[in-house]
Amino acid sequence: MSPSERSAEIDPRNSGETDRRGWPAIQDYAIIGDCRSAALVSRDGSIDWLCWPRFDSAAIFSALLDRERGGYWRISPVAPKTITRNYVKDSNVLETHFAGRSGKAVLTDVMASAPYTSRRLGLLPDHDIIRRVICIAGDVEFEIEFVPRGDYGRIGVSVREIGKLGLRFVMGKGAYWLRSNMPLTVSGGGARGRVVLRANETLRFSLSYSEEAPAVLSPLDASLDARIGHVTAAWQQWGRHANYDGAYRDSVIRSALALKLLTYAPSGAIVAAPTTSLPEDVGANLNWDYRYCWLRDASFTIRALLELDYWDEAEDFLDWMLQATRLTQPKLRILYTIYGEKAPAERELEHLSGYRESRPVRIGNAARDQLQLDVHGEVIDAAAQFAFHGGNLDRDMQQILIGFGNYVVKNWDQPDEGIWEPRSGRENHTHSRLLCWTAMDRLVRLSERGLLRGAPVDVYKQQSDLIRRQIETRAWNERLQSYVSVLDGDELDSSLLLLSWYGFEQASSARMRGTYRNLRQYLGTPDGLLYRYRKEKREGAFAICCFWEAEYLALGGGSLDEAQQVFARLMKYANELGLYGEEIDPNSGAALGNFPQAFTHVGLIGAALSIREREKGEQQLAHRPPTATPHSSSEVRS
């Protein structure tokens, strides 16, 4: 039974968001991962998205983008009445609770993220999804469908039963092994089975992938339960390390855990999202591949990691930014693959229907060739935050930063595509100028504090003044009493809120308050959300911009109470697991765009931190005086 057929039989979702053709709502997905790749699991226990061995590999399950042709792996009761989900506290281990007329069962899903050292020191699969079902009361009949499809659903697979080793198929450079402690019937390029579980009975499954033989196969005995326990404990140890004691601790830890899931541990890169082509406008063509790393998120991400005391991750991310971009330095692309390569050219997968007919499905990203002059400022600000708070910038890093600074000196006055990556041409974006100013300002401050040697400080000061003057004159619209998106323009976009975040303007200044009033008026929704900019194309409110608003208020643009109210309102738009997409449908509150979105979760953490700092009367990390306190290590690595 394909995903579209089964929707007619069961309606197990509390959210009631499944449409007639079996499409779950975007926010009805959960994520599991191992810091190398990730899978999306629907409310009815179907893994509808999986790319192995890395985030940007071709999908083996892609029912997320095509209910007929995309593969999936479903483990769900035949007739559930209610379904609830949660992550095991402070972990990325997913539990789906099924309740039917005759019994209850719990499905546990985990992508076994054994730390690299454990993998190196013992026999553990390279990549492994463990799924376990325990019947906790009565009896529950389960149906299992395992339907892999190679290359985003384009290629059928030949599944073979290999004795008691399990089922095997080969796709690309690797072999997949599915093991289970219940019999599965191989048919139609997949495997299926039904079983009635009675109280305390357990089903165990392991799907592993390896490009090296001999592969390691997981036993399906109690040792598998022990692995789930170890993985849970490792996640909890990591999650509970977070240095945050405010009122939003659960949301902050969930966001940190989501961010960690989107980290590619071998390189330190962080992908924007694990998916491609989940639409910003359902049924339309605003569908992009986000399985790459955008430098524009650098400053926010480093700030979030540093303040939560995840220094190892911050250091790895900074190293990745400075080392992986070597081939193009001092120029920077706006996005890279997890290993710092140029992202693939954009192409369309015409064989896929797209999520709820949102065509085309794209892989690769054409924004790779765009010019965004903000990225140098992002990377320099990230490095500056790192250095101001105890991190070491070695001589090599310093030279790289000076190279970036000199590039900004030569190019800051150019038009570019800007932060929102429109495909309509280049303009003189205020946000890009702001980040060029930030680049100059931070390099000067680093030099003044003796953390950067050999920089042409006088040149940077002079350029910083020039950029400031240009922003203050040409990005300020006297008629509107507001900063505007492009020089000499009269439109606004939400990135203007960041003028205070980067320290260009006090959040409480008359100019920022005027800008904020205009933003609310022109880009606000009746429910208090914010669009990123005004445009003809339909899209949702931009989630991170909403968190920027909360943070702007916390930084002094409003009262603490106002900041808390905005933040509390935004909490309601998370799914029940605490996950956010890129955008929020202002009418239904549904998530839109790729899911979950690192940028949004970074925004949540940033806003929560700034609110906490306001409560404590502290300054934002980026604007605090330097500290010599050596950092601690977050220990748990993957």
Partner: protein
């Protein structure tokens, strides 16, 4: 053939065999990582297994080169094509006999009859090592033929 020549030719031939197998792995012709397969006889630690496996394979190559030398002496033939024939026979022996015996002799290898358990979790090679990739027999045969060609040629030069 003196000891030094034997050591050198055995080393060169084994190195060539290892290189060809590693290249086959890198090119995606086979998933088999021979040093890892051999090294896990003595340790479950992945990184160490690769190093130990390489060293064991080197010693093994030397040992087999003695056997090749004895056959060259016994048959009074030592040239590249006879070496290639011996390499072919060697490869077929490895693929059919050694690989099928592997689950029984490898302390960490599972079998199709019993499946994996806490002590035995490695995927067995299957007939002709086909579990490790459909082109695995080709790369094994090719690398062993080259092994034999090098030994036959060097033995001919040394005598």
């Amino acid at each position: 053939m003196n000891w030094t020549s034997w050591l050198l030719s055995g080393f060169v031939a084994t190195l060539a065999l290892s290189t060809l197998l590693a290249t086959s792995h890198g090119l995606g012709l086979t998933r088999m990582n021979l040093p890892y397969l051999i090294g896990t006889f003595v340790t479950p630690e992945r990184e160490k297994a690769r190093v130990y496996g390489f060293m064991i394979h080197l010693v093994n190559g030397w040992a087999f080169s003695i056997l090749y030398a004895l056959i060259f002496e016994a048959r009074h033939i030592a040239n590249w094509w006879f070496g290639a024939l011996l390499g072919l026979a060697h490869a077929l022996f490895v693929l059919t006999v050694v690989m099928s015996l592997m689950p029984g002799i490898h302390p960490r290898m599972a079998s199709e009859q019993h499946g994996p358990n806490a002590n035995r979790q490695l995927e067995p090679p299957g007939f002709m090592a086909l579990h490790y990739g459909i082109q695995t027999p080709v790369s094994v045969v090719l690398s062993h033929v080259v092994f034999g060609v090098i030994l036959g040629s060097l033995y001919q030069l040394a005598t």
